[in-house]
């Protein structure tokens, strides 16, 4: 086995070539890791919006809260269904909300985007204790006051502390607080008084969705049977986790697929770059290789050594690219989620799995790109090489 120091020193002799090749691979890994991180971020943001012990009730056939219509009169029936947990005062834990979108001017882009407005009852925090105000104050019940999610704040005109936006003609709503919600998609929403939203959007007597907390996740089937058995209501119950998985499906797949296809092409190019570099390394070191062979190193040892060098070369690029992609963790990416047609702010989520994938990918590029040059090196005849 040829010592690894030999490869390291060979790489450091031709700095420019090593840097150019590793740089190309670093860029590929950066693009791949970033797209995987965004895809993971989409799943995380929407995934952390759902709890395993929560169920959501929508109109039969609706995929999203936006198109769903549930009669107000059905709400008590849903809350009375089996499996719903009661709070300390014996009240069933559930929340009926109105969800609409409004077109608002996007800051930093020429145009408008759809922002989700959620009409919440006064006691919404009873159901969602993880939501807390991080700036300003909670809205006073029954007023034209709104709170905005931490992530959407400052991205849309009018959605920052102290500013206001028109919910309908000549009906300004004032932003009095900013809330955080454990990184879930609620942080991309604007919460206003439910009755106000109903009036403004002609949603009197209906809600979009009803969420309930179950006394345990295993009670879901009983709850669903209770809600769906009454066909007149025309309702469906979903586990909240399953609901959000469906919400993230389209966007996560789009970003993931696009990223993978693009990375494949990029990798092909960078791999060819590695091959060129390694062929040149083998050609320039004919004499060295001949000497090594003459010293008694086997063909297999030469092959292994050059493969290792290629993997090292790609590994350097891979580590640099993965490290650079970590910086994307600070970037927030705002896009329209296909399932709800409304703007959601995602972050790049650097999971260990993504980083491992990126590094394995880089080493794979080195292995494939270095294979043929390494074979050529191993085939070098010692006699011919030393003679030149």
């Amino acid at each position: 086995m040829i010592p690894i120091r030999y490869n390291l020193r060979s790489l450091s002799v031709r700095k420019a070539t090593t840097l150019a090749t590793a740089g190309g691979i670093a860029l590929v890994v950066f693009v791949l890791a970033s797209s995987l991180m965004l895809s993971a971020g989409i799943k995380k943001t929407l995934g952390s919006s759902g709890r395993p012990d929560d169920a959501i009730v929508l109109r039969m056939g609706s995929d999203a809260e936006l198109g769903s219509v549930v009669e107000e009169s059905s709400v008590p029936l849903i809350l009375a269904a089996p499996g719903v947990k009661a709070d300390e005062r014996g009240q069933p834990l559930g929340v009926a909300e109105v969800v609409v979108v409004a077109a608002m001017p996007k800051l930093g882009a020429d145009g408008v985007t759809n922002v989700t407005l959620r009409g919440v009852p006064d006691d919404v925090m009873r159901f969602r204790p993880e939501v807390h105000i991080v700036a300003g104050r909670p809205p006073r019940p029954g007023t034209d006051e709104a709170i905005v999610g931490e992530r959407i704040r400052g991205r849309i005109a009018g959605l920052d502390l102290g500013q206001s936006f028109d919910i309908k003609k000549n009906r300004p709503v004032k932003v009095v607080g900013v809330f955080a919600a454990d990184g879930s998609s609620y942080e991309s929403e604007v919460w206003v008084d439910r009755e106000l939203l109903r009036q403004a959007y002609g949603r009197e007597g209906i809600v979009s969705s009803v969420r309930v907390r179950l006394s345990s996740p295993s009670k879901f089937d009983a709850f669903r049977a209770g809600v769906e058995n009454d066909k007149r209501l025309g309702l469906q119950a979903l586990r909240e986790t399953a609901f959000y998985e469906k919400q993230s499906e389209g966007a996560a797949m789009f970003v993931g697929t696009l990223g993978t296809v693009v990375s494949f092409f990029f990798a092909l190019g960078a791999m060819i770059g590695a091959t060129i570099t390694m062929y040149a390394a083998v050609a320039n070191r004919q004499r060295e290789i001949g000497t090594l062979r003459a010293l008694g190193f086997s063909r297999r040892a030469i092959l292994a050594s050059f493969l290792l060098e290629a993997i090292l070369l790609a590994g350097i690029g891979g580590v640099a690219g993965a490290a650079a992609s970590m910086a994307m963790g600070l970037v927030h990416f705002s896009m329209v989620n296909f399932a709800s047609w409304s703007e959601i702010v995602f972050s790049f989520d650097p999971t260990p799995r993504v980083l491992a994938t990126a590094l394995v990918f880089a080493c794979g590029m080195g292995l494939l790109g270095g294979f043929f040059p390494a074979v050529r090196a191993a085939r070098t005849s010692p006699l011919k090489a030393i003679r030149g």
Partner: protein
């Protein structure tokens, strides 16, 4: 032999390396052109948009419709030649759950007059106008889902509950490239009459053709003025601005793809620069001799740049030759058939092709900048002495 000729001939010395480099550049150019084509196909809708059409919709939100009588108001406004309207139905075929296509409830008498780039055979159009349950579908959609004239189709909607039955009365083709060939159009009356009274007599948006396309923006503003004092204010935009504002929702993705298309060019430059630097290093002695017999440093730099530019251009031409059939007959056909609702026309356009070629040559020259500078700075004595 001319100086330029010498630069080109230098390429032939290491044919294998040149072939690999050309392959690397070609792959990069294919990837670059693919990304450019996605961006172009996504954003070109604005450029194909009809100049004389105005879309009027609810000012605040797409979830609320306009009162039907607005159509009459628009019809009587000055400069308006023809008016039609439509509602988003949100239908899908339960047997093809994952296929997305647009479903619109339209006014049969006027819709295909206002959208005159959608061509329906006159006989089919007449049949459809007299068939309340009739539908006209795009040729791409009909082919994909295997629908033929006279077929009965049942759709579900996420917005309007129930099963909706339709008969395929006609198939439209298009004369403009930007028009979706996968839309499903049916009678607005059929939908309206089936709705509960509270939801009846609403139109999703109104589209009008104007007689003065130069002042289409002013006509839109004048239309909105008419509804300023009404309960439901409107936003009227010409089709081009409408499409452009729609794109703002995806601005982050578009920006990211722009950056990524730049990244591949950097990778390509690194591959090219590496190859050229290797060649220069190997030929240091020769450059010394050339300098010794009287060539100027500028000559040496010119050779290096000329060689690199030729290499870049060669790779660009090969890449373009591969990208043309790959995009237009491979990916493009697949995308148009499967994602026609988003990308009705996915083809490599000449401007992008020329851009790719120009960038390949330009970056080829740029990649040589550093090696050329170093080669021209060599001192003759060092160069002749040095062993490559």
């Amino acid at each position: 032999m001319t100086l330029a000729g010498l630069a080109v001939r230098n390429l032939a010395r290491n044919k294998f390396r040149v072939a690999l480099t050309v392959a690397g550049v070609a792959v990069a150019i294919v990837a670059f052109l693919l990304i450019r084509t996605v961006l172009w196909a996504w954003t070109s809708g604005a450029q194909w948009a009809a100049k004389d059409r105005v879309v009027t919709r609810h000012k605040v939100t797409f979830v609320m419709a306009l009162p039907e009588h607005y159509v009459e108001v628009v019809r009587e406004a000055p400069h308006i030649k023809a008016v039609t309207w439509a509602n988003w139905f949100g239908g899908k075929d339960p047997r093809h759950d994952r296929e997305f296509f647009g479903t619109l409830a339209v006014d049969p008498d006027t819709y295909f007059t206002v959208y005159d780039e959608m061509k329906v055979p006159p006989g089919q159009l007449d049949d459809w106008k007299h068939d309340r349950q009739g539908a006209i579908v795009g040729d791409v959609l009909a082919k994909k889902l295997g629908w033929k004239l006279g077929d009965t189709v049942t759709l579900e909607s996420g917005i309007y509950p129930g099963d909706w039955q339709f008969k395929i009365d006609g198939i439209y083709t298009t004369t403009a490239k930007s028009v979706d060939r996968s839309t499903f159009c049916f009678h607005w009356d059929y939908l309206n009459d089936a709705l509960p009274p509270a939801r009846r007599d609403k139109v999703g948006w109104i589209v009008s053709r104007v007689d003065d396309s130069a002042h289409v923006a002013d006509i839109g503003v004048a239309l909105d003025k008419r509804f300023d004092d009404a309960d439901t204010p409107t936003l009227s935009q010409d089709e081009r601005s409408f499409n452009a504002s729609f794109l703002a929702m995806f601005s982050a993705i578009l920006k990211a793809m722009n950056i990524v298309s730049g990244v591949i060019l950097v990778i390509m430059t690194l591959i090219l620069g590496n190859t050229i630097a290797m060649g220069v290093r190997e030929r240091t002695g020769e450059y010394g001799v050339l300098r010794a017999i009287g060539f100027r440093p500028g000559h040496v730099a010119l050779w290096v740049v000329g060689e690199s530019l030729t290499l870049g251009l060669l790779g660009g031409v090969v890449g373009a030759a591969l990208a043309w059939p790959f995009i237009n007959y491979g990916v493009g056909r697949f995308i148009e058939e499967n994602m026609g609702a988003f990308f009705p026309y996915f083809r490599l356009n000449t401007a992008n092709l020329l851009l790719g070629l120009a960038l390949a040559a330009l970056l080829g020259a740029a990649a040589a900048a550093f090696p050329a500078w170093r080669a021209s700075r060599l001192r003759v004595v060092d160069a002749v002495r040095r062993i490559a």
